[in-house]
């Protein structure tokens, strides 16, 4: 019963989805203000989801069963991820050994669900989006995992989120050390790609391949993908906060840190042009990985 409550209401689906949709509104509003526009009202993303639920769902000819199953896979696993993360962050004593690795794996599944769904859509533009999404996934996962290992080394080899938090409560946030700061920068860049924000949104490039991976989706499956995106907008920054800014996690400070990470992501999004896929891959496997390795070396030296 308690598990179900955690999964569906707090800190799982209902809580994370509402916060995520509001964060999505924040993204649109700040983008609008940066472009000197007024921007949509706060309930805009909720309205979008409700509207999509009322639309017709079209299954293209030649699509397989996975076309409709993939959105659920992505959403359910991401809700699980939000629950595990939220349990460690909001409720004490709920964390279990190895949940860092569970969260890491579950964070990848939405991208994989997108790949599975779009590749069974029988659309050439969708398959271009899929190939880009796959390469991007390969690109950012490597430095992201290295920066994660940096944190694990700094916390004395624990792979439990609560232990990482309590270590930071004792010794100060990870970001205030040399290796931690480097790993934080790497993680923020990888987060940008994970969220699919602009320098790395080539998988969904609206102007270029017309929505790419999402091109054939309509109605309910599209709404589920939008919800997944909203959940990712919560889970990603919260994960980074857990890893790097875990000293004061009272409600107010947590909110401030979350807003800060969100604003950083939105500012990067609004001030950069879209990269080509090979540029992004070069970027992630070149400078970012080198930076992450540098952080790893510093961490093992104890800096």
């Amino acid at each position: 019963m308690k598990i179900l409550f955690n999964y569906f209401i707090f800190p799982g689906f209902l809580f994370s989805a509402s916060v995520g949709l509001i964060a999505g509104w924040l993204d649109r509003k700040i983008s609008a203000r940066l472009q000197w526009r007024k921007g949509p009202p706060w309930h805009q993303n909720f309205t979008d989801i409700i509207k999509l639920l009322g639309k017709e769902t079209i299954v293209p000819e030649g699509a397989r069963l996975t076309f409709l199953a993939a959105p659920y896979l992505g959403l359910l696993s991401l809700v699980l991820c939000a629950t595990v993360l939220g349990n460690a962050l909001f409720l004490s004593g709920q964390s279990f050994r190895g949940d860092l690795i569970v969260v890491l794996y579950l964070l990848v599944i939405p991208a994989i669900a997108l790949i599975i769904g779009a590749s069974s859509a029988a659309n050439p533009l969708a398959s271009i989006g899929v190939s880009r999404e796959m390469k991007l996934l390969l690109g950012y996962e490597l430095p992201f995992i290295i920066s994660l290992i940096t944190v694990v080394i700094k916390s004395g080899g624990v792979i439990k989120l609560e232990d990482i938090l309590s270590h930071q409560a004792g010794f100060g946030s990870n970001i205030f050390s040399l290796s931690g700061a480097i790993a934080f920068v790497v993680a923020v860049l990888c987060l940008q790609a994970k969220l699919g924000f602009v320098p790395f949104d080539m998988a969904e490039a609206d102007q270029e391949i017309m929505g790419g991976t999402l091109i054939e989706y309509s109605g309910l499956p599209l709404a589920i993908f939008k919800l997944t995106k909203a959940l990712l907008l919560v889970t990603g920054p919260l994960f980074v906060i857990t890893l790097f800014l875990g000293k004061d996690i009272g409600p107010l400070f947590l909110l401030l840190k979350f807003a800060m990470l969100l604003v950083i992501a939105i500012l990067i999004k609004n001030t950069n042009p879209r990269l080509r896929i090979e540029q992004a891959l070069k970027f992630f496997w070149g400078p970012v990985t080198v930076l992450a390795l540098l952080g790893l070396i510093f961490a093992s030296l104890g800096w």
Binding site: A32, D48, I58
Partner: protein
């Protein structure tokens, strides 16, 4: 009033299809999303894929080749889908009335919900048209 209909009026996603227009209507349509007019205030967005669309906004005269494509586009769009004819070319045939290439106006081919005349229509005219469309949907189409 229907809950879904209400949500639809608050979040309209537009697919912009240009069928052989002179690009003036397209430019004026895009102007509606610039800082001065900013249709995103009302939740109106331009989207890339037709499968996400609520409104099919058509500019330009329907020439012979476009007719087939437009019919297919309309069939591909998820349904409740509204059709807007933007500019005099799409509303009637304008100066292509006697043309060998433009056989019939748009409303003989698709069920048009809204006409926005003008060559090109001003962004103000387009916005006022959008409001009329919203009122029409609210009254229950």
């Amino acid at each position: 009033m229907d809950f879904r209909l209400k949500a639809l009026t608050k979040s309209i996603w537009i697919f912009h299809a240009s069928v052989g227009s002179c690009n003036n209507c397209d430019i004026e349509t895009l102007d509606c999303f610039t800082p001065r007019f900013d249709l995103e205030r009302f939740g109106i967005q331009l989207i890339g894929s037709l499968r996400h669309a609520d409104v099919l906004l058509i500019t330009g005269a329907m020439n012979r080749k476009a007719v087939v494509r437009m019919k297919r586009l309309y069939e591909q769009a998820p349904k409740p889908c509204l059709v807007v004819a933007c500019g005099t070319c799409a509303c009637s045939q304008h100066m292509f009335k006697e043309s060998y290439n433009v056989r019939e106006p748009l409303d003989k081919i698709l069920p048009v919900d809204l006409y926005i005349p003008g060559c090109p229509p001003k962004p103000e005219a387009i916005i006022s048209g959008v409001i009329k469309l919203l009122n029409k949907v609210k009254r229950g189409k």
